[in-house]
């Protein structure tokens, strides 16, 4: 096992291993989870590396407990993460909602495999994209990032921690079996070069601390257990002090703030990568491992004279509408290839409102869409 805990070195790492390296670089010092294919390597590397940097790894009795412990650790001031795949992600939904409501920073990795149910445990899929947005009950906003290379597994795990700390919110990273298990060369940046964001902590005297008070960013500073800012944390809708409330004039501002803090900061949160999109006549919108096939397909298509381009989604939720809309107006057609029956294409259609033609290419047999398939489809548009 290569030692992905040391920075500034060039290593051959699986996506899963690079996530661990990214998490450690971002300051993650706690991991609680439950093994599941194809996310297990994350647990295993964490169990090996975390204790060496003074962190803690624990394997809990199930995924519910895993996320519970992660929330607890974060409340006690330690950056924390868990990793799972579809079945475990389904089980985490209740506690995920808790983390949203109680505004507890944490990172949850879902390495997607074929579903539904036990599905195709060892095969690649992208079937949990809408679940990541809507899986827990009740209205909530959420940040979901998607990774497509070992490099991104490192970088975006750092980013996920940073966003989660900055916005006091759980951040979900959707990986998939291909990205998770592909080994690629990666040069880990020295620690000093990694931008690490820490949650804002209260600076006022404890008596003045109002734990859920609104701020311009919508994110109140966060006391941590033991630091003298004693306050109440609950999954009930609460007032600015954290106490349960049933008053509409306290409920509405709270729920709106939760929503606003994510959505008003979209310019920072929403990220896409463009590749030859500027002059494209046909655009592929893809993410995760499929974006890799798509990139090759764009090259192949161009070499056949077809002006294709790619937008790779990095942020899946909040859906980067404002970054996509301008493109929709300019292209002849959009192709949305996915390893599901059409989950992101649904969103593209929703924002499209007649701007262009939206075409899907869906594959659910457990294998990655090939560049060839894409080129063929592009040729027919």
């Amino acid at each position: 096992m290569p030692d992905s805990g040391k920075n500034g070195r060039t290593l051959l790492l699986q996506g899963n291993e690079a996530m661990v390296a990214g998490a450690l670089a971002a300051g993650c010092r706690f991991f609680a989870g439950y093994p599941i294919t194809p996310a297990t390597e994350i647990s295993e590397a964490m169990s090996y590396q975390l204790p060496a940097v003074g962190g803690t790894f624990i394997q809990m009795e199930d995924e519910i407990a895993g996320l519970g412990a992660v929330i607890g650790a974060s409340l006690a001031g330690v950056k924390a993460m868990t990793a799972t795949s579809g079945p475990g992600f389904s089980l985490m939904q209740e506690n995920l909602g808790f983390a949203c409501v109680a505004e507890v920073p944490c990172v949850i990795v879902n390495v997607m495999r074929g579903g539904p149910s036990t599905g195709l445990p060892t095969h690649v899929a992208q079937g949990d994209v809408q679940q990541a947005r809507w899986g827990t009950h009740g209205d909530h906003a959420i940040i979901v990032l998607s990774v497509s290379t070992t490099r991104e597994c490192f970088d975006l795990t750092v980013k996920a921690f940073n966003l989660s700390e900055k916005y006091r919110t759980p951040v979900i990273i959707l990986s998939d079996e291909v990205v998770a298990h592909t080994r690629e060369k990666i040069t880990l940046p020295p620690a000093a070069e990694v931008e690490v964001v820490e949650r804002r902590r209260p600076a006022m005297p404890p008596e003045w601390y109002i734990p859920y008070e609104d701020t311009p960013q919508g994110v109140p500073p966060m006391g941590i257990f033991g630091d003298g800012y004693r306050y109440h944390v609950t999954g009930l809708i609460h007032d600015v002090r954290g106490f349960p409330t049933e008053r509409p004039d306290e409920i509405v501002p709270f729920l709106e703030r939760l929503y606003r803090k994510i959505n008003q900061n979209f310019f920072e949160i929403q990220m896409v990568d463009e590749y030859l999109a500027e002059d494209a006549e046909i655009l592929i919108i893809a993410y995760g491992s499929v974006a890799r096939s798509a990139k090759r397909a764009v090259d192949d298509a161009r070499s056949q004279g077809l002006k294709a381009g790619l937008i790779k989604l990095i942020t899946l939720w909040p859906f980067p509408r404002r970054l996509l809309e301008p493109h929709l107006k300019l292209v002849r057609a959009v192709l949305v290839p996915e390893l599901n029956l059409g989950q992101i294409s649904r969103e593209v259609k929703r924002i499209n409102q007649g701007l262009t033609r939206v075409v899907t290419l869906n594959r659910v047999d457990g294998y990655l869409i090939t560049p060839e398939e894409l080129v063929e489809r592009l040729g027919k548009l």
Binding site: F30, G72, L75, G226, V233
Partner: protein, 283 residues
């Protein structure tokens, strides 16, 4: 004795509306008092205490006291507490759960916490029913009792919570009642001071639901029953099974010295650091 009340007030959250939400005479208030007194005796500061609670009438306890408080999801209190404790072992983490919370939906976390032996204190408020949702049967509802979901009498047999904790591996296990408040203070104090996973099962009354359905009277009658049915463990040893029929035992069921998780984990850290250094040298 007024010091008792003064002491309580030292720990209550006065920005919260009192009286609390519990029904008149509910044992939760008595247990809250015992908990505060016990904590005070341990000498831990408010900042050092994290009070974690589940969902239920009992779960509302965390809102009233001026510690670091955490009201979790139903049944998951021990998992959150595990994270808190591992992240900062200096914190004293006390977990308050209802019988439903700890042994119905949360039963698995309970036995695993006992097995792992983190230095946590678990207080299980056993009122034989789901109070919060209206008196349905819980894993501790006695055979034959009536409940909102057992309109013809309950056919399941209850868990012996404290005994289950012992078998699952808890380092310290005690049982008390709301009637025996002085004993309860001491049990909770000992549980907090115990280094290891310590469980206090508190037998209490939900007269509003369990009591009314089963015509057991109000808080007075139900606490009278506690007084009569509870037998000190030491005394129980001298009694015949016939004499013990219809009774339950109170006191300390087990107290054993087992290596605690965070201590053990320190060894892992040392091994890991050594392994990394080893790697660094050879490569």
């Amino acid at each position: 004795m007024a010091e008792v009340t003064k002491l309580i007030h030292k720990y209550l959250r006065h920005e919260k509306k009192f009286p609390h939400v519990w029904c008149p005479g509910c044992g939760n208030g008595i247990i809250l008092g015992a908990l505060i007194r016990a904590i005070d005796r341990t000498g831990f500061t408010k900042d050092e205490i994290v009070l974690v609670s589940g969902i239920g009438c009992s779960g509302r306890m965390s809102v009233y006291v001026d510690f670091n408080t955490l009201h979790t999801t139903h049944g998951r209190a021990l998992t959150f507490a595990t994270g808190v404790k591992l992240a900062n072992p200096k914190l004293q983490v006390i977990v308050v759960m209802g019988d439903g919370d700890a042994t119905a939906i949360g039963g698995n976390h309970f036995i695993h916490a006992a097995r792992r032996n983190l230095n946590l204190t678990a207080i299980i408020i056993n009122n034989s029913t789901y109070g919060m949702t209206g008196g349905q049967y819980s894993p501790t509802t006695p055979y034959g009792a009536l409940a909102a979901t057992a309109p013809y009498g309950h056919i399941e047999h209850p868990f012996a919570i404290a005994e289950l904790a012992v078998t699952a591996g808890a380092a310290w296990v005690g049982r008390g009642t709301t009637y025996h408040a002085n004993l309860l203070d001491k049990l909770i104090e000992a549980a907090i001071l115990k280094r290891g996973f310590a469980v206090v099962e508190v037998i209490t009354h939900c007269h509003t639901l369990f009591g009314r359905k089963n015509v057991l009277g109000g808080p007075v009658e139900m606490m009278q029953w506690q007084k009569e049915a509870a037998v000190r463990l030491e005394k129980a040893k001298t009694m015949t099974p016939e004499e013990l029929a219809g009774k339950f035992t109170i006191g300390v069921l087990t107290d054993r010295d087992l290596p605690i998780y965070t201590q053990e984990y320190r060894k892992i850290r040392e091994a890991a650091e050594a392994a990394m250094i080893g790697k660094g040298e050879t490569q």
